[in-house]
Symmetry: C2
DNA sequence: CTGAAAGCGCTTACAG
DNA sequence: CTGAAAGCGCTTACAG
């Protein structure tokens, strides 16, 4: 049997209320009784039941993190652990714990969210990705629960989100290609579901337009964001006869897949074709050639997300904030022609 | 105000008990009332309060994962997210959620563990590393709470743990060096605190002895396990005049640090000196030269840890299990002399 | 400064 | 098949 507040109370000859106040460090308790109770608590190795406390309090000091799809797939990409790291770092500072839940099927989402939110387990929720018409976002809005989305949301303006300025950095990256003399630049891995890739698409288009280059829809290939299908996407482009001299992938993993295919086709990088990605994997710095990428600062995204969430929790969900975490172009050999 | 079981009961003209039974799918409830209640629950968008349920039930369906040191440091190494991935994968199958807690200071550990364990939040705990004289392990034993340690524990035999056979695989790796003709083989990154490194040390020694090679304590250098100090450890060896022809690092990150220094000293790998690590980072396959390493199957360690934990929870903590997850030597160019 | 009592939102023997 | 009541282990106005 666990020792409860009542056991302590009896042993100390005080009421449970008093014990509770001692635990809460209530200043109205005399130091004599306080010390007596504290001593007995130590002796009996007592620790308050957080569940009971939460029920009485409505405060769990837990935030929920919802991972899209199966966590075992998502976490294969370092992007998500990095976000989690950022969240955890801030959470720790604020003495919050993190509850991780992964949602495999879309129909489970409502269920999971309700469990965390209405179930009283979490005080707030962070969604790790922002999709178009996101059912989780819709649900959270409906039940009016504090949450933050990682990735700009287009569903509703009354939402907290953190993101990079994907439009600008994609613009910058595309300009980098153009400055290197490229006119036919492919973009692979755009997903209509994933807002960040759509923002990148817009930045890409704008850069082409600003340089009076044509937008060739045959060079823009959709594909699931994080899956290792760069190989196939690249193949599709080449097999349909397009001959880009540059390729931008919405993720470094996609870029590596594309590079694999290009190499098989006998193309040299960057001389025959330049390649760049996003998310700046550790690998990207060490591969041969090293891969030009965009440092999105996933840690910062996670940390900022937590900060907004705390604000939202404490402000009773009345203010909505967006935060832009700076992204940075990292130019490496895969886009630099040998001189 | 959240809608509670009482609100539903009133609306449905039944008692709260009945509503509770409907939720629990109790077969003794007539389908008529069950349907009526279910309908009203839907209408009022009701979802049971998990905290209250947990208090009445003593079941939270949450397991706690305790990360050693600051989570933001630990998670910089892919090893930990991989373990988490394995845990999460199994947890999801068993409809458990995961609560992550990081402990920065040793004196916080008892506190955190008590919160999760006695606080009634977690039903079981997974410790992400096993140290010598681990205070967390001691505490968990003392309060008789279900837990599993990742990494063989030497504290107590009555413990659940999962690990690789570090002795054997270190033996094998050392033999590989010896077979390549090496006689002076350094081992860096052994920590007296971390059991797995000590096991590796033993395997290393045994391999040397079996080949009638001398154990040179000057070639065995201590160092914090996961910190990026391979550079300094290697420097120490060389600056003290030792001239190994092979180096085994207890982690790939350490190995990369060592390689950096060796390169600065003008040594070629593997021709002048062969290097190998442990944990088989993604990077290790792509670096130049590619790094010989040991695949420890962190995902498998995590998954197995969860399985043992569930067993332990359900068996009322009476049976103790150990599990060995197979590790595999991955030989790459950093230890293969060019022919 | 301290206690008795009600309440947080559930579950579950017990009784019918 | 259903309800009244007690209980899970806390907190917190209210009263003194």
């Amino acid at each position: 049997m666990r020792v409860t507040i009542n056991d302590i109370a009896k042993k100390a000859n005080v009421s449970p209320s008093t014990v509770s106040r001692v635990i809460a460090n209530n200043p109205r308790i005399s130091s004599t009784t306080s010390e007596k109770v504290l001593k007995i608590m130590k002796e009996m190795n007592y620790h308050p039941n957080m569940i009971a406390r939460s029920l009485a309090n409505r405060s769990t000091k837990i935030i929920g993190v919802i991972v899209p799809g199966a966590i075992e797939k998502a976490f294969q990409h370092p992007f998500f652990p990095e976000i989690l790291r950022g969240i955890a770092s801030e959470a720790h500072k604020n003495t919050y714990n993190i509850l991780i839940s992964s949602v495999t099927e879309v129909k489970d989402e409502k269920q999971v969210i309700n469990e965390l939110a209405k179930g009283g387990i979490a005080e707030g929720i962070i969604l790790m990705t922002s999709r178009m018409k996101d059912p989780s976002i819709a649900e959270l809005i409906k039940i009016n629960f504090p949450f933050v989305v990682i990735g700009r949301s287009m569903v509703d303006s009354e939402i907290n989100w953190v993101d990079n300025d994907n439009f600008s950095v994609a613009y910058e990256l595309t300009k980098h290609f153009i400055n290197q003399g490229h006119k036919k630049i492919a973009l692979i891995g755009v997903s209509k579901q994933v807002v960040v890739t759509l923002d990148r698409l817009e930045g890409y288009k704008k850069a082409l337009l600003d340089s009076n280059l044509e937008i060739d829809e045959g060079l823009i290939v959709e594909g699931k964001f994080f899956d290792d299908i760069g190989y196939g996407l690249m193949k599709k482009i080449l097999d349909e006869g397009a001959r880009p001299t540059g390729v931008i992938a919405c993720d470094d993993v996609l870029a590596f897949g594309a590079i694999k295919l290009l190499t098989e086709y006998g193309l040299k990088i960057p001389d025959d074709i330049a390649v760049a990605g996003f998310n700046n994997l550790p690998l990207s710095d060490y591969s041969t050639p090293s891969l030009t990428s965009v440092e999105v600062n996933a840690f910062g995204l996670g940390a900022k997300a937590f900060q907004l969430l705390i604000k939202s929790i404490n402000s009773n969900y009345e203010v909505f904030n967006k935060a832009i975490v700076p992204a940075q172009l990292v130019i490496r050999n895969s886009t630099l022609k040998q001189v």
